[in-house]
């Protein structure tokens, strides 16, 4: 069952790579939050109330509901256009992400470590690289935030891959990170949207030193 969820997670990455609209990214991030909850819940050895509440808060409430709603609010408030505006065509994105998955599989193979759960490692590493790729290949700032969130999802899965039980402190750290990044970038974007109408990183290249 865990494997099924992780395969769906990777398929969601492929889906994002050919998605046309920004709102699809938000939905996929919400879906990934639910998948992460499923994976962590299945990984739990014994259910303690405090631990379960923390996981629920972290995955469902935070990743699957609060952050996507906030992102959707940001998109509608700042009147960000619906297109994702990648630098590269979607077709090439799809090939690159498939290559990322293949390379991670090969990489994970070459690691001889009994403590490492390989499928978790593959999924987390490919999510990490995919997030990096999204940051590098999309024009809008809001998609940079989404790429960053995807990287955080990858790190979350990586924390499942290495330890057989989750260190709570690590998770709290990741949660704080996500929270800070979304909030800061959100406020930054709101203020920026109030002053300038267009939020496009491409326009930064017009800045010149005279």
């Amino acid at each position: 069952m865990t494997n099924v969820l992780l395969i769906i997670f990777i398929i969601s990455l492929l889906y994002v790579s050919i998605a046309n609209r920004i709102i699809t990214y938000v939905r996929v991030l919400a879906l990934q939050g639910f998948i992460l909850f499923g994976v962590t819940f299945l990984q739990l050895k014994d259910i303690q109330t405090w631990n379960l509440v923390l996981i629920l808060l972290e995955t469902i409430v935070f990743r699957a509901v609060a952050v996507p709603m906030f992102l959707a609010y940001l998109i509608s408030r700042n009147k960000i256009t619906r297109e994702t505006e990648p630098y590269l065509p979607h077709f090439i994105s799809l090939i690159i992400i498939t290559m990322i998955v293949v390379i991670t599989v090969l990489l994970a193979n070459s690691i001889q470590d009994t403590h490492l759960d390989k499928i978790f490692f593959i999924v987390s590493l490919s999510t990490l690289f995919t997030g990096l790729y999204f940051i590098a290949s999309r024009k809008k700032i809001i998609t940079h935030v989404m790429g960053y969130l995807m990287i955080e999802n990858g790190v979350f899965i990586l924390s499942l891959a290495v330890g057989n039980e989750m260190p709570n402190l690590v998770n709290l750290g990741i949660m704080l990170d996500v929270f800070a990044s979304v909030l800061i970038l959100g406020i930054f974007l709101n203020k920026l949207g109030d002053v300038f109408k267009a939020v496009d990183v491409d326009q930064l290249s017009n800045l010149k030193d005279y």
């Binding site: 494997n3 099924v4 395969i7 990777i10 398929i11 492929l14 889906y15 050919i18 046309n20 065509p89 979607h90 077709f91 799809l94 090939i95 992400i97 498939t98 998955v101 293949v102 599989v105 090969l106 994970a108 193979n109 390989k118 499928i119």
Partner: protein, 301 residues
């Protein structure tokens, strides 16, 4: 022997169920389930009209297309019954006999000398080219999983393992549904109801065919759907006894037809330049199935 009878039987109703689903979901009265078959019978009674610019290729292409689909149906097994033709590596035969039919269809479209038909032919060739790796990676990974290379052996030994094979089977069924939609030129890729030659793919290729030839091409399309439905059903039937396998087969065929109808009623056709990436995504998903198989077999490099 049973498989081909079942495929022919379900092929009669398949397209009717699709159009019935579409008409119900859009609130129309719509044609009856048997209407596609009646259309074909009406076409079979007519003679064909051939343009003066066409050659022998245009005349032989529709029978070759139809017989290639029929040949492909012969290799498909059903529960513990082999297909009429069954040998090691028959899934490669299956893919290439379909490709042969498609090739003749394409060159007959080029033969008419119409610019529209050449355009449609090039699109059809491109899309089946993209769909082919998806099919081969998919069936190839199941061949790896079971250690057999013929359809019958693959399907009869598939479900002896763990529950993960059912997962992979489900994922494979999703991919195969989409491959069937592409190969039959249905909605997300091509709109069979379109009336503009510039946006057609399959329909524009057969613009010049009429009467008996058109009937052959249409009935080959119905058979193709039932054929893919049979493969999808085989993924779940395995080697069940006949009492369970027969209703399950018909149920899966009907479900497949309803799914196609629902997809067609609730999705718009993709823009033409979005099609290649959609089809390539199928290859990526079947690649994931391949990696999953490697994981199950613990055969990582």
């Amino acid at each position: 022997m049973l498989a081909i009878i079942l495929i022919l039987f379900s092929g009669i109703f398949f397209t009717g169920i699709i159009s019935r689903t579409k008409s119900i979901s859009s609130g129309r009265k719509g044609p009856g389930i048997m209407q596609p078959v009646k259309d074909v019978i009406r076409l079979f009674k007519k003679g064909s009209v051939y343009s003066g610019t066409t050659s022998i290729i245009f005349r032989i292409a529709p029978p070759i297309y139809f017989s290639s689909v029929l040949m492909a149906c012969l290799v498909i097994p059903f529960s513990s019954y082999k297909g009429i033709v069954s040998f090691d590596g028959d899934f490669i035969f299956f893919a290439y006999i379909l490709a042969l039919g498609k090739f003749f269809n394409i060159i007959s479209a080029m033969d008419t000398g119409s610019s529209f038909e050449g355009m449609g032919a090039s699109r059809e060739a491109l899309f089946s080219l993209f769909a082919e790796p998806a099919f081969f990676i998919l069936i190839g990974s199941f061949a790896l999983l079971t250690g057999n290379t013929s359809f019958f052996d693959i399907f009869s030994t598939l479900h002896l393992g763990s529950s993960i094979t059912y997962t992979l089977g489900g994922l494979a069924a999703c991919v195969l549904v989409l491959i069937a939609m592409i190969e039959n030129s249905r909605m997300p890729v091509d709109d069979p109801k379109t009336h503009l030659e510039l946006t057609m793919i399959h329909e524009v290729m057969v613009l010049d065919n009429s009467g008996f030839d058109l009937g052959l091409i249409l009935s080959a399309g119905y058979l193709k759907f039932a054929m893919y439905g049979a493969i999808i059903a085989d993924f779940f039937i395995g080697s069940l006894s006949l009492i369970w396998a027969l209703p399950l087969f018909l149920l899966i065929q009907a479900l497949f037809a309803v799914t196609v109808g629902l997809i067609e009623s609730f999705m718009a056709r993709f823009r033409m330049n979005h099609n290649p990436q959609f089809i390539l995504a199928l290859s990526s998903v079947s690649f994931l199935i391949f990696l999953g198989v490697l994981l199950v077999l613990e055969k990582f490099v």
